[in-house]
Amino acid sequence: MKRLWETIRSPFQLLGRTIALLPSARKSHRKILESMYSIGNQSLVFIALTLAFLGLILVYQGAYQALKVLPDLTPVGPVFIGTMVRVFGPTIVALMLATRVGAGIAAETGSMTVTDQIEAMKVTNADPVEYLVVPRFIASIIMMIVLWVFGVLVAVAAGTLIGTLRFGIQLRTFLSLSGTTMSDVWVALFKCVIFGAAIPILAADSGFKATGGSEGVGWATTNAVVHSLFTVILLDFLISSIAYRFGW
């Protein structure tokens, strides 16, 4: 039980320290941009692939079920786009980011920890949180939003292809924004910020706790992925519930 509490407490501590150090980020423009580039570079192809297939499957299933139950294909496009923007976009992109970037950050900080580089930083009065975590924290939030937009576009493109070619839906009927509201966008943006913040914190936290050589780094990376995946889903649930209750 005590370990569970410690597992929950430690990332919050890191989060606290990171936020406290945010003002100092003003002088690390370059590192933030580097981080952003790195995250984007690593994830672009990956997100494109997974979100494309997601779009394909959502439209396929959606149209198939609509034909079975309604049978009318007009709502498929708008509902698909609305759910992509609000639900699947942030969530799936975040899950993918958790596996790609989260694992990457954990592997990096983990191997730095087991090779005592973190200790070395502390000893020379450089704060590892300031140097390693803060830039990635900011970069991750920004890139999460960017990649959400990118992911939604890719998924919609793929979905449109299959909707028009396979199911013969009219392009104009499909690409309608009638299923998407402004509040959908706001909720989605909020989710992106929260997810984008959570992933690097959890990943770095796991990395800093790594012990014992290659086994430790492997453990840290696994831990980061599992915690990030679960936390994204948990937070998603909380945010969605609250948003629904307030009619957003």
Binding site: I57, A103, I233
Partner: protein, 263 residues
């Protein structure tokens, strides 16, 4: 690495990713063939080790999968909430949640979680063994690493993900029913009736078939990246990263093809 692959242009990077992707798929296919060949030699099947792995995999992943599935089910219900509120079709909630969970969301998200919990762990274990020469030690003792290390894990992952998806699906439905009442304010009976009314057997089975293939995919992917580790601690970290990423792609791709072929 030979010179031609060392470009840093965008197109170069793209091309290199493509080539690497092909190489990876090729290597994984080879590994799959070796696994099948080992399985065919039935008398060499390591029953003891397979059972051990089954327990390890199952015990490790059950809590996390169950927890994830419950929240995913709840999420699905909330997501359909808006739609239901707009159209007033409350009776569709059960059907919507049931279909989504059984056929798509259940297997995929449970598969992703499984890949994180078990796949990553597996890659890390195998990778560490490679780096510390334990895999060579097996060969030198005349023990085939494929038969002893890989096949039991492969089998264990398929069996376990199958079971976990079945169990997880049910927990997802349960989570959905709680969300239905607590968040949407709809009576749980309507929810459960909606599920029971719709004949979801075909979707349920399709989901389980997907789970079998996802399990196999996570197995091959995680073992492949574990076995090819070079470079100590950093190499293991990188391999785990590659392992979960590749698994995720595989899950999405396989998911699409099974859905299309099944319906």
């Amino acid at each position: 690495m030979s010179k031609p692959l060392e470009t840093d242009s965008f197109l170069g990077n793209f091309g290199r990713t493509f080539i690497t992707a092909f190489q990876t798929v090729g290597a994984m296919t080879l590994l799959q063939l070796r696994i099948f060949r080992s399985l065919l030699a039935v008398k060499n099947f390591d029953y003891d080790e397979s059972v051990t792995q089954l327990f390890k995999v199952g015990v490790r992943s059950l809590p996390v999968v169950v927890a994830t599935a419950t929240f995913v089910g709840a999420l699905m219900v909330i997501a359909s909430g808006n739609f239901v509120r707009a159209t007033g079709a409350t009776t569709l909630i059960g059907w919507a949640a049931g279909t989504a969970v059984f056929s798509e969301v259940g297997p995929v998200l449970i598969g992703l979680m499984f890949s994180g919990r078990v796949g990553a762990n597996n890659t890390a274990e195998l990778g560490t063994m490679v780096v510390t020469n334990q895999v060579d030690a097996l060969r030198v003792l005349g023990i085939d690493p494929i038969g002893y290390l890989i096949v039991p894990r492969f089998i264990a992952m398929i069996v376990m993900l199958f079971l976990l998806t079945a169990i997880g699906d049910l927990f997802a439905l349960a989570g959905g029913s709680v969300a239905c009442r607590a968040v949407l304010g709809i009576d749980m009976r309507i929810y459960w009736l909606g599920i029971l009314d719709s004949n979801l057997l075909s979707e349920f089975i399709m989901g389980l078939v997907k789970a079998i293939f996802f399990g196999g995919a996570v197995g091959i992917v995680s073992c492949h990246w574990g076995l090819q580790v070079t470079g100590g601690a950093r190499g293991v970290g990188r391999a785990v990263n590659d392992s979960v990423v590749t698994s995720a792609i595989a899950i999405f791709v396989v998911n699409f093809f099974i859905t299309v072929l099944w319906t």
